[in-house]
Amino acid sequence: MSARATVDDLQAGTNASGSVTGLGHLARAGEIDVSHGPILYLEAVTVMFDGFKALDDLTLSIDEGELRCVIGPNGAGKTTMMDVVTGKTRPTRGKVFLGQTMDLSKMDEPSIARAGIGRKFQKPTVFSQHPVWENLELAMNTRKDWWASLRARFDRQAQRQVEEVLCMLRLESEAYRLAGDLSHGQKQRLEIGMLLMQQPRLLLLDEPVAGMTDHETMELAGLLARLKGSCSIVVVEHDMDFVAALAGETGRVTVMAEGRVLAEGTLASVRADEAVIESYLGR
């Protein structure tokens, strides 16, 4: 049990109700402390699978409000990195922190999600036997324990939230259809919508445009542009044009290879990097 402590447990103690910490600022239970800039901080993270190093001394930090693109060849450890952040895989060594105070390597998946990290899978994962509106209702940012769910009412305010997201996704006409009957692109959008309902502080997107048509990609790009600014986003992507569009002139791009950060900087600078050209982009 001790390894699976909740957010509240970790935050309880001296600063449980908002006392001043030694760092001279306020820390509240369950709140992400981004006073030093980074919302996500990985330090020297190593993940070993039967002797194979999926992540090798990876150090990465994402600033509050940033949109970061992570690129790299297959097997570079991009998805493993997301697994480590979301609690699916435990790091063999190293530290993973959300803000200044939350040690993600000591939390399980649900508590990490409740702490404010949303994750989109490579393959769209929705509740196929639930109507679209129920998918969004389930994702809503409320209490998630069984007792609260047993007594939960889908009140007007909650319905309003679902309606707004449905409009944003342009899925109004599909509201009562089973999510399993939607097209691939509609499922992708629904999953993004579920993340919106979750109101995350940090959003991890694993190859969001994989298998999408140009039209669907366009719609997704629109949605992401809408999200930018409201939360920090990490996008793992293969499609260089899409990365170029998301990162723009100034956005930071991280190139990963063999479980390590190969280069970091603007897209133009990493494109010019010798090591990157050698291992990934090719000449």
């Binding site: 508590s111 999600a113 509740f127 769910s149 319905q159 309606e163 449905l166 992401l224 569009a245």
Partner: protein, 404 residues
Amino acid sequence: MAYRQVLDEAAPQWQKDRRERGAQAGTLPAGSDGPARFELALPERPALLGRRAWIALAVLVAAVGVGVPLCALVLPAGHPLHLSAYGMTLVGKLMCYAIAALALDLVWGYCGILSLGHGLFFALGGYAMGMYLMRSIGRDGHYQSDLPDFMVFLDWKELPWFWHGTEHFAYALLLVILVPAAVAWVFGFFAFRSRVKGVYLSIITQAMTFAAMLLFFRNETGFGGNNGFTDFKRILGFGITQPETRTVLFLTTFAALVLSFLAARAVVTSKLGRVATGIRDAESRLMFLGYSPLGYKLFIWTLSAVLCGIAGALYVPQVGIINPSEMSPVNSIEMAIWVAVGGRGTLFGPIVGAFAVNGAKSVFTTHFAEYWLFFLGAIFVLVPLFLPRGIVGLLRRGRAGDAA
């Protein structure tokens, strides 16, 4: 491709569109970001049953409540509509099976946990009730002792500690609920916390009921060994074979079935029910949304065990015997067949399935007993092939076909 351009244009286009559509619908002025145009208009909680279903249920309750006492007690034995003791016991037994099937469907059909050990919870409820029935035999047993006959036979001088208090009916009822609940909770806590799933969990549940059966077979365990409990004389002071007592037991079982159905309905129509089906379909998605499946699984699992225990407690006084063979793996597997035949993931299905399979079993075992197992085997093979959604699924498809 110039995605950058797309990115710049997509969001404004989206907003423009929405504003235009809003203006057309007349709900918000053009150029402002007003409230959403689309409305869900769903009830805060879905109705427990539709209007017609409530009426049908009320008619059924009235028919059984008046009809059964009339047919069993008022009409003379020679009357064609007379309900014999055999008939009443048979239907009463089927209703107990239906409650158990409903309970199993809650965990299997709605939460994706296939238990092949629900026979244990059924038997535990039955044993708890059986203890009370054994104590209420009093000195009317074979050995005319205060102790149950099997204890005298084993030359025990006093009641084991866990038999204390079982002479009180209320305490026995408490045990009927608490013992299956406690066993299920402890088993479930360790199994679900370790994230045991799918076929592995099914095997462990099977092992659980098998181990319990071996334990109850032992005389030293204090539950009558392989003979179990039988020769009950009375319940709450009334003769257990009296037609009046049988009628009351029948009606109690019917009430328990209706209430279990409504309780299950309340659970599956709540948000908890929707989360449970989410666990069944995409557990990891649910975890990454912040739900911890442990509490949900434990709640449904324990509730299911309690319902099963109640079914067992109602079964024992009507059938007149409880022994460890109720915990045999085959019994638990048969329960899964009832649910599969009726249609899992519906609440009506398991009830239909329990009646259909056991009805067929009664017919077969009285008329051509040697073919029953062949028939059961045929069901095992044919239902998944031709009726993947069970009898209820077939009925629904038929109705949908009519409408089209």
